[in-house]
Subunit: 444 residues, 2 copies
């Protein structure tokens, strides 16, 4: 497609370009335009019908948006933002430098400007910052016909009209879906068909809670209310999809000992990547020296039996892997709310039983291998017993720490693989050398 | 709430129970019922209005569903499944033992039974298995009024009527939203307002691709077509929300070296948990013995300078952490499609620059600490150089392996923390002892 457009651009066949691009879906069109030269983007963008141009604009990355805005006259800017939904405008504004924001706000009408500012003032990650202030509200005394006429008048500029909220002095008292309105007789009063069981969120609710409510209730949209139960906006499911993905990405980062990187991998500068990664690396590196210091205590042991050293990597990695299996399972269980702190003993007992079976399989495999390779029964026994002890401890620590973190209101995700591994390294070396000293009498 | 209901149950005040529970939202009601005794669940369930009962049923776990079904007469069973959407029925059936499935199918009408079977025959994880066969279709020659009348007639049993599909001999030729219909004049012909730019998925498309299309286009529903572009069903956004969560959970499991556990942590038996965890543990444990075998080659080195052993945990854990930071970043970039195989050199160069800065900070910190603690310049130099080499290799391996996996059509998620760490353990020990032998002349 890109090549075809480039060819038309070369031929200056603008009529053909216009008729080709106007049938492309906005997200695809945005991707197509971004692949062109900046000069050509502006050129083609001006050929688009106003509505398509505005919607395509919302799908572009902020660099391209900024490039386009810088070329717009104030009139063009105003016309475009008139077509864009307020919550999308806010998303765009949040990415722009201050002088561009000022230009956008100057060219919005008073009402829109007020709406943008309202949304911008809510704390990041709150329901307030996610919501749009454009929704359809009805009065309880309206008839179904009144309601549909009202939707015809205002609905087209509202982001979702599928659920309409019934208010009384701005307080939320019920909702009707457009299906209710369409299927009801013309003179049915809203009050008689509205559902008064409204699930809403407070403006200050965390966006993670909002996402959970959406998943639980399968809503298309959810009303946002202030402390007096007055409706101030709605959150739509498409914004929630983005929140769920972002929250998951954050957890993936944390579980690999990184602070989450916001935005694009390629566009984030090297030093910001370093900043997001270095703190945990330093902490974990220095914690690992504790295990090192512990090992210096057993110097004589591995001067006497140097073979003991060769099992260190296997024991430490098995401890780490067993521990992170348990911690990841518990962390995800906490995130999806299947596991709660009160389940601690149930979880610990389950992990204990798992660790018994797992440790028997692993230690039998390994001690048999050692018996065959080294023909040393004592060595084989040391590894057998150490693995059993290490795996039981690993699964215990792995399920305990995330639950403790949760209890003390720390994000359990930081108790993931890297931190657990470092803690378990120390435990496993302690167990290993204690058992070795016990069995090899020459080490005493 | 549970206590209040229990109290009413004791008083046998069924009228009060009936009026209380009928205002509770289905997902909440399902949770409430599940917390009661089996006998009481059946009792209260029978008090519910038919529609509420059916919807609540879909939110229950399969044990409770099975308990309820076993108590139903055939008539009750039929009445309930008449109220449940076909795709929910399929979800329920997939969890039930064969004799219960047979009973449900026997009590569905012919049409429903055909629909259920159609869905059940699509491969798991395909668009076909996600879809519902209940959707609203219109003809291009209908007027807006005809269409609304038709929706009034059929819409209430369709899972979503917000998007209606226009078909011609079952081929999908366009769509209109209910907003288009409501805002159009009564005699407007569908053909003139329908949008012919329909994004659809094929029945055999993978559900991950379906989820990506939903996130990209912000759809409420997407039509599913067969190879001849005939519409066979629709997928709604609520099913996609579940898919996205499940896919993420799968990735979390794989990245902690586990096969994904389907369903509840608590309900999955211990031996299934063991089965999902043991394979990777065995593979990783045996791979770690390679590092061990390598260490036996340097036995003389640590008999001469036993202090060298104490740095092994710190070096291995730093290598693992640096590597998993890079691999997690690349794996997630691949999952969200920001990173592709063709970006390999861009990614490798970026990670190389990050590793230069990170390695300088970490090795300076650590070698200074060693200089102060042990006053040994050569030891400090060994650690300085080893860390630099190890971190550069770690970030290189960490970004390369997931991309190679992708290239060879292996799931990149298995190249996560545990496997990367094990590979890097060997690399880091090789670098460490090579540098140590170079600097400490007595080791040669």
């Amino acid at each position: 497609m890109t090549e075809y457009i480039l060819q038309l651009l070369e031929q200056k066949n603008y009529i053909k370009i216009k008729s080709t691009v106007k049938d492309i879906i906005p997200p695809d069109l945005a991707a197509l335009l971004e692949s062109l030269e900046p000069r050509d983007i502006t050129l083609i963008f001006r050929l688009l019908p106003k509505e398509l141009a505005a919607e395509t604009f919302t799908y572009m990355d902020s660099d391209t948006q900024m490039h386009l805005i810088s070329g717009f006259s104030d009139k063009e800017l105003r016309e475009m933002f008139d077509e864009i939904f307020v919550d999308d405008t806010v998303d765009i504004i949040e990415e722009m430098p201050a002088n561009v924001v000022a230009r956008i706000l100057k060219n919005s009408d008073l009402e829109t400007r007020k709406q943008i500012n309202t949304i911008l003032n809510y704390p990041a990650d709150s329901a307030g910052s996610l919501m749009t202030t454009e929704y359809v509200y009805l009065h309880r005394d309206m008839t179904s016909k009144d309601a549909l006429d009202w939707i015809r008048k205002v609905g087209v500029v509202k982001e979702t009209i599928y659920t309409c909220y019934v208010t009384e002095s701005r307080k939320l008292i019920g909702y009707v879906t457009i299906l209710d309105l369409v299927t009801a007789d013309e003179d049915t009063v809203i009050e008689s068909i509205m559902d008064t069981n409204v699930i809403s969120v407070n403006t200050h609710e965390d966006r993670e809670i909002v996402a959970k409510k959406f998943s639980k209730y399968d809503f298309l949209a959810m009303p946002v209310v202030d402390n007096e139960n007055r409706i101030v906006g709605i959150i739509t499911f498409d914004d929630v999809l983005d929140v769920i993905q972002e929250e998951n990405e954050e957890d993936f980062s944390k579980m690999a000992a990184m602070q989450p990187t916001e935005g694009s991998y390629f566009k984030t500068p090297v030093l910001i990547h370093v900043k997001n990664r270095i703190l945990w690396l330093l902490v974990l590196m220095l914690s690992a020296t504790i295990t090192g210091t512990l090992l210096t205590k057993y110097e004589e042991s591995f001067q006497t039996i140097p073979l003991l050293v060769s099992f260190i990597p296997m024991l430490m990695s098995t401890a780490g892997n067993c521990g992170s299996q348990s911690s990841t399972t518990v962390i995800r269980g906490l995130a999806t709310e299947e596991i709660q702190f009160k389940d601690y003993f149930k979880v610990a007992f389950k992990e204990f039983r798992i660790s018994i079976v797992v440790s028997l399989i692993l230690s039998l495999t390994n001690s048999l291998r050692i018996l065959v390779m080294y023909k040393d029964f004592r060595l084989s026994a040391v590894i057998f017993l150490s693995l059993i002890g290490i795996i039981i401890i690993a699964k215990f620590v792995g399920c305990t720490l995330p639950l403790l973190a949760k209890k003390f209101k720390i994000d359990p995700a930081i108790m993931a693989n890297p931190l657990i591994s470092t803690i378990l390294d120390t435990c496993s070396m302690l167990i290993y050398f204690q058992i070795a000293t016990l069995i090899f009498s020459e080490l005493r």
